[in-house]
């Protein structure tokens, strides 16, 4: 059991080390997320009344788009450098590779979100240090990273490469985007704990189902 977790952490550390050394993924994506927030501000031009209604949608659009960009990059590096075969030769089960990659995607997305949240709070005059909001963000990002890992492993082998990931990804994660936007909206507007909890439950159920499924199906995505 310990070696299982050690292998996962080793794979996670490999990806983090790679990113720390090259810095070619995170920085542009953070800037991209900030720009999405900016563009939406001009596109919608929210009055103070409108802000509470549109802000959650804008936030989660920025996170979704930047998340998709970030996740497709992780497997592109593997494909270009030919390290897919090296990964598959490791004496570990395929789920370990999946969880390692998923945790790497999760940490990258969480880093992006931590850096973007203050920007969002300032631009839209919204308080962000709310436990419920942090929980919603964490759970949604978990769901994103599980679906994103398996689909980016698939899409990197297709002719359309990175363009394929959003096409596969968006229809499947619609429930958690919906739940995240609704719960963020309720949190910002100080809704009842019960109503927020319903949405959080939906995200949690989605995460459990799809993490298990993706871990099982990942072996088929990796086979030659």
């Amino acid at each position: 059991m310990k070696s299982y977790f050690n292998s996962i952490l080793t794979l996670l550390w490999k990806d983090i080390l790679l990113e720390l050394r090259t810095k070619e993924n995170i920085a542009p994506i953070i800037v991209f997320a900030g720009l999405v927030l900016l563009i939406f501000n001009f596109a919608i031009d929210p009055t103070p009344v409108l802000v509470a209604i549109v802000a959650p949608g804008i936030l989660w659009t920025a996170f979704t788009f930047s998340g998709v960009l970030g996740m497709s990059r992780t497997f592109v590096l593997e494909k270009d450098n030919g390290t897919f075969e090296g990964m598959m030769l490791c004496p570990v089960s395929r789920e370990v590779i999946f969880f390692g990659k998923m945790l790497a995607n999760l940490s990258f997305m969480l880093l992006i979100e931590i850096l973007i949240f203050p920007f969002f709070g300032i631009l839209f005059n919204i308080s962000i240090l709310i436990p419920n909001l942090i929980l919603v963000t964490f759970l949604t990002t978990l769901g994103f990273s599980s679906i994103g890992t398996i689909f980016s492993a698939i899409s990197v082998h297709t002719r359309a490469k990175e363009i394929m990931l959003p096409i596969l990804f968006f229809p499947i994660v619609v429930p958690i985007i919906l739940a995240a936007v609704q719960s963020t909206s309720l949190i910002i507007q100080n809704g009842t704990q019960e109503s927020i909890y319903t949405w959080i439950q939906l995200i949690a159920i989605f995460d459990i189902i799809f993490i298990v499924l993706s871990a099982y199906l990942f072996q088929f995505a990796l086979e030659e």
Binding site: I147, I150, I154, H157, T158, R159, A160, M164, I167, L168, F170, P171, I172, V174, P175, L178, A179, Q182, S195, T198, W199, L202, I205, F206, I209, F210, L213, S214, L217, F220, A221, E223, E224
Partner: protein
Amino acid sequence: MKNTLKKITFENILLGITMPIIGVAIYMIFMWVPTEQTLGISQRIFYIHVPSAWTALLSVVIVAIGSLIYLINSNEKWDSLAHSAGEVGVILASLTLLSGIIWAKPIWGVWWTWDARLTTTLILWFILVAYLMLRSYAPTGPQGKRFGAILGVLALIDAPIVYYSTVWWRTAHPGMNIGPLAESATLDSQMYLALMVSVVGFTLLFVYILKERYNMKQDEKEIDKLFTYYG
């Protein structure tokens, strides 16, 4: 190379059963069923909207089952079935959406409403289109088939979650809560019969088209095999 109208094959028998039922259904829809009082004559679109929605959902299920069995035993028959069902499913989902839109306009006055069923059908349409795109953009051979199979399985698991999340969403923002099927609760017995005949005929037609497409896929595979084996 197999199928002419004279031979007694499964497809021909199916065709022989389907055509009369569809003929009866069309007679019932246009002549026999009484016109609904409040909704008028455009309510008859209901008799083609419901069967196409039902068969679209059925094709998503067939894609998922075929994909799952293919992943388990790598028998390419099941992959052909899944791919054929995906193609026919896109067409049926498009038909459902279009008939739903055309029905919505005179009844509700708007082209689109974020009703739970319509939204789920739209998302399923996108998923099926993504499935077909993945199959055509993925590398040829078993790897591409496996990729499609993964998406097929994930799609079916996702469908009920999408449906229930949209239902909760709509109850939070009450708007057009009456879906097209809500009227089936108060259906006249004649209308119910016409609907059932229509559903049966449509489903049989769906099975027939699916079988023909499946046969074609198997023929394509045979051509590929002959090419690779004999150069």
